[in-house]
C-alpha cells in the first residue's frame, strides 16, 4: 500500500502538469472559443518556445539545487549583441548567433565558479550577475540600442515548418535532447544525485563542483538560445526584453514539478509548465476580465499548482517515514 502511494505521488509530481495544462486549455476554450482555433494553438506554441528554452535552462540549475536569476540579463544581452552584430545582414548571422551564445556560456561558467568555488549563494551570485549583464548592455549600447535581426534569421521566430512554428520546433528539439541528457545518460544521473544530496553524491565519487558548474553553464546557454529566439520573433533590440523571464522561468519549472530544493522534477514537466503558463497568459489576454483580475488569475493558478506539488511532496515524506 505504502509502495503504491509512493508511486502515485511520484507520478503526480512528474506528470500532473500535463492534465492541468489540458484541463486549463479545455476550460479556457469553453469560456473563450477562440482558444480552440488552430491559429491560436499555433500562436501559443510559437510564443511558448521563448519561455520554454529559458525555463529548460532554469530547470538544469534547479535540478542541482541552485537558481539562476541572471537569465533575464542573458536574454537581454544576447538580444542586444545579436541585433548589433547582424545589423540586418544575412552574412552576419553566424557571428550574430555564435558570439552571443559564447558569451552566454561564459556567463554560465562564471555563475558556476561564483557559486561553487567562491561559495556565494546562488540567489546572490546570479542576481549580481544579472545586474552586471544589464549594466554591460547599457554600457555597450550607451542606452541607445541599434541594429536589427537579419531577414533569414527572423524566420526562426516568425516562420513555420509544415504549419508548426519554427520556434516551437527548435524548443521541442532542444527539450528532447535535454530529456535524453538528463534521463538517459550518466551525466543526467549525476545532476539528480548532486541536487538530491551533494554530500552523498561526493561520497559516491561524483565530481560535485564540476557537475554544478556544468549545470549553470548549460542553463545559461539555453537562456541564450531563448534570447536568440525572442530576437528572431521581434527582430529588434530592446533593453528590457529579458526581464519577463526572470521569475516566469522559475515558475514554469516549479509548476512543472521541479523542486526548488533540487534533485526532483525534470525536462518534461517544465515543457508542460511552460505550456500551462503561456496558455494562462493567452487565456487571460482573451477573456473579458480587468487587468487586475488577469494578474490575480495568473498568480492564483501558479500558487495552486505549487501547493499541489508541496502536498504531494509531504505525502511522500510521510509515506517514507
Amino acid at each position: 500500500m505504502a509502495e503504491k502511494f509512493h508511486g502515485l505521488t511520484l507520478i503526480l509530481r512528474s506528470g500532473a502538469v500535463w492534465p492541468a495544462a489540458i484541463l486549463l486549455y479545455l476550460m479556457a476554450g469553453l469560456i473563450s472559443p477562440a482558444m480552440f482555433e488552430l491559429r491560436q494553438v499555433v500562436d501559443i506554441l510559437q510564443v511558448s518556445a521563448f519561455l520554454g528554452l529559458v525555463a529548460l535552462g532554469q530547470t538544469m540549475v534547479l535540478l542541482v539545487g541552485g537558481v539562476d536569476l541572471s537569465v533575464a540579463g542573458v536574454v537581454t544581452l544576447v538580444n542586444i549583441l545579436s541585433t548589433d552584430l547582424m545589423d540586418g545582414k544575412i552574412s552576419a548571422i553566424p557571428v550574430g548567433v555564435a558570439l552571443p551564445l559564447l558569451i552566454a556560456v561564459i556567463v554560465g561558467l562564471s555563475n558556476g565558479v561564483l557559486v561553487v568555488w567562491a561559495g556565494i549563494t546562488p540567489l546572490i551570485a546570479t542576481l549580481g550577475m544579472n545586474a552586471i549583464l544589464y549594466g554591460g548592455a547599457l554600457i555597450y549600447t550607451g542606452g541607445a540600442p541599434h541594429g536589427a535581426a537579419a531577414p533569414g534569421f527572423t524566420a526562426l521566430g516568425q516562420g513555420s515548418l509544415i504549419g508548426v512554428p519554427a520556434s516551437a520546433v527548435c524548443w521541442i528539439t532542444v527539450a528532447a535532447t535535454m530529456w535524453m541528457l538528463t534521463r538517459r545518460t550518466a551525466y543526467g544521473r549525476r545532476l539528480y544525485a548532486v541536487g538530491a544530496n551533494p554530500v552523498a553524491a561526493h561520497m559516491m565519487g561524483v565530481p560535485v563542483g564540476y557537475v554544478l558548474v556544468s549545470a549553470y553553464t548549460l542553463g545559461s546557454l539555453l537562456a541564450g538560445m531563448g534570447g536568440l529566439l525572442v530576437t528572431a520573433y521581434i527582430g529588434q533590440p530592446s533593453l528590457g526584453i529579458g526581464d519577463q523571464f526572470l521569475l516566469t522561468s522559475v515558475a514554469a519549472a516549479v509548476v512543472g514539478g521541479t523542486a526548488l530544493t533540487g534533485g526532483i522534477g525534470g525536462v518534461a514537466g517544465t515543457v508542460g509548465g511552460t505550456l500551462l503558463i503561456t496558455e494562462l497568459n493567452s487565456f487571460t489576454d482573451i477573456v473579458h476580465v480587468s487587468v487586475g483580475a488577469q494578474y490575480v488569475m495568473q498568480g492564483a493558478i501558479i500558487a495552486l499548482g505549487t501547493i499541489v506539488y508541496q502536498l504531494a511532496g509531504r505525502a511522500r515524506l510521510a509515506n517514507s517515514a
Binding site: G142, H146, L239, G240, N281
Partner: protein, 361 residues
C-alpha cells in the same frame, strides 16, 4: 520583478517642430525648441527669492536611465549645459528605478548645495517631501516629464497625459468614422500615465459607435504587444483600430496583424521611429493603415533647465509649463521619420541627425 522595467518608459517624445502658434498666455523658447507651444498654468513663480550670481551648480535626479527616450533626453540636457557659460557643474544621479534611492539622491544633491535640482520622478508622491525640503532651503526644484503631487516644488515642465489620451482617442474616432471595434494597449500595469491617457481616450470615444474589445498592458515593448495582439486577433475576428499610448505597443500590434494576415488599421502611439518606419513601408499596400501619434519631447530637460536658469537670474517662470503636443499623421510623418536611424529613436528631438548618429552609432 525588476523595478527598472516596472518603469521602463517615458519615451514620450514629441510633438512637432513646425510653425509656432503663439497664443495669448503662452510663450515659446527661441531656438530649436521654439516651435513648441507651452502654456503657463498655475500662476507665476517669482525668481527674486532664488536670484544669485553664477556660476551655478545644477543637480539632476534621473529616476532611471537606459531606454532611448532617457538617453536622448540626457544628450539634449548635456548639450544645453555646454551652451551656458555660467553653469559650472551638472551633477547627474541615477535612481536606477528605485523609489527610495531617488529620495536619497535628492537629499544628497541638496546636501551638496546645488543651486537647482531637476528631477524625473520614479514616484509622483514619494519624492515630494525631499523636493519640498530642498525647496525650503532655497534650492530651485524642477520636476519634469512625469507629474509630481502637490505644489511644494518650484516649477514643473511636461505634457498632460489626459489631454493627449483624449486627443489620440478623438483622432482614432475620426479615423474610423465614429464606429468600429478597437483594442487598447497601455504600458506597465498600474502606471499613472497610461491610466490618465486611457481615461482621456474613453471620454473621447464616449457616445460614438466605437466598441473597445479589450484593454491590455503591453509594457511599452514590441514583443509583449505583438504576443498580446496575436492572442486578441484569435479572439476577435474584426479589429478596426488600435489605441496605444506608446509607439512600441502600436508597432507590436502592427507586426501581429501582419503575421496574422489581417488588414492593418488606424493606430495611435507616440513618435517611436519604428512605428513611422512601419507606416512608410506598408501604407501603400494597406489602404486602411493610418497613424495618429503624439508624444512628449525628449527636450523637456532643456526647457526645465532654462526655467531654472531664468529663476536663478531673477526672472519669473510659470508654476506649470504644459507643452502642447502636436499630431504626427500621414500628412506630416515624412518630416519626422529618421530612415537611417534605429527604430528605437524618438524622432521629435532637438538633437541633429549627426548628433543622433553619434549617439546611436
Amino acid at each position: 520583478m525588476n523595478s527598472r522595467t516596472q518603469i521602463t518608459r517615458r519615451r514620450f517624445a514629441a510633438v512637432g517642430i513646425a510653425g509656432a502658434l503663439l497664443l495669448p498666455g503662452m510663450f515659446a523658447f527661441a531656438d530649436a525648441i521654439s516651435s513648441a507651444t507651452i502654456s503657463n498654468e498655475g500662476g507665476m513663480v517669482n525668481g527674486t527669492r532664488f536670484k544669485k550670481k553664477g556660476p551655478y551648480r545644477i543637480g539632476f535626479s534621473n529616476g532611471f536611465s537606459g531606454n532611448t527616450w532617457r538617453t536622448e533626453m540626457l544628450a539634449s540636457l548635456n548639450a544645453e549645459v555646454k551652451r551656458h557659460s555660467d553653469i559650472k557643474d551638472l551633477i547627474i544621479v541615477d535612481g536606477q528605478g528605485d523609489i527610495t534611492k531617488q529620495v536619497n539622491d535628492i537629499d544628497n544633491l541638496a546636501a551638496q548645495d546645488v543651486d537647482a535640482i531637476l528631477c524625473i520622478a520614479n514616484s509622483g508622491t514619494a519624492v515630494v517631501p525631499a523636493l519640498s525640503r530642498a525647496n525650503q532651503e532655497g534650492i530651485i526644484t524642477a520636476p519634469f516629464n512625469l507629474p509630481v503631487a502637490g505644489t511644494e516644488w518650484t516649477t514643473f515642465v511636461g505634457t498632460d497625459p489626459t489631454k493627449k489620451g483624449r486627443a489620440l482617442g478623438k483622432w482614432l474616432r475620426d479615423a474610423l468614422g465614429g464606429k468600429g471595434k478597437i483594442l487598447g494597449l497601455g504600458g506597465i500595469p498600474g502606471n499613472s500615465y497610461t491610466a490618465a491617457a486611457w481615461a482621456g481616450a474613453k471620454v473621447a470615444l464616449e457616445g460614438s459607435g466605437i466598441e473597445v474589445l479589450a484593454f491590455r498592458d503591453a509594457m511599452w515593448q514590441e514583443d509583449k504587444a505583438k504576443v498580446i495582439t496575436a492572442d486578441l486577433i484569435a479572439a476577435y475576428p474584426e479589429i478596426d483600430g488600435v489605441w496605444a499610448d506608446g509607439g512600441q505597443d502600436a508597432a507590436g500590434a502592427v507586426l501581429a496583424l501582419l503575421a496574422g494576415n489581417r488588414p492593418l488599421c488606424p493606430v495611435t502611439g507616440d513618435d517611436f521611429n519604428g512605428l513611422i518606419k512601419l507606416y512608410t513601408k506598408y501604407h501603400t499596400s494597406q489602404p486602411k493603415f493610418d497613424i495618429g501619434l503624439m508624444s512628449d519631447p525628449t527636450w523637456e530637460s532643456v526647457v526645465a533647465l532654462r526655467a531654472t536658469l531664468t529663476l536663478l537670474r531673477g526672472g519669473n517662470v510659470a508654476k506649470r509649463m504644459i507643452i502642447t503636443p502636436r499630431l504626427i499623421t500621414s500628412a506630416n510623418y515624412m518630416s519626422y521619420i529618421k530612415p537611417n536611424l534605429p527604430d528605437g529613436v524618438f524622432v521629435d528631438t532637438d538633437l541633429s541627425d549627426a548628433e543622433l548618429e553619434k549617439l546611436f552609432g
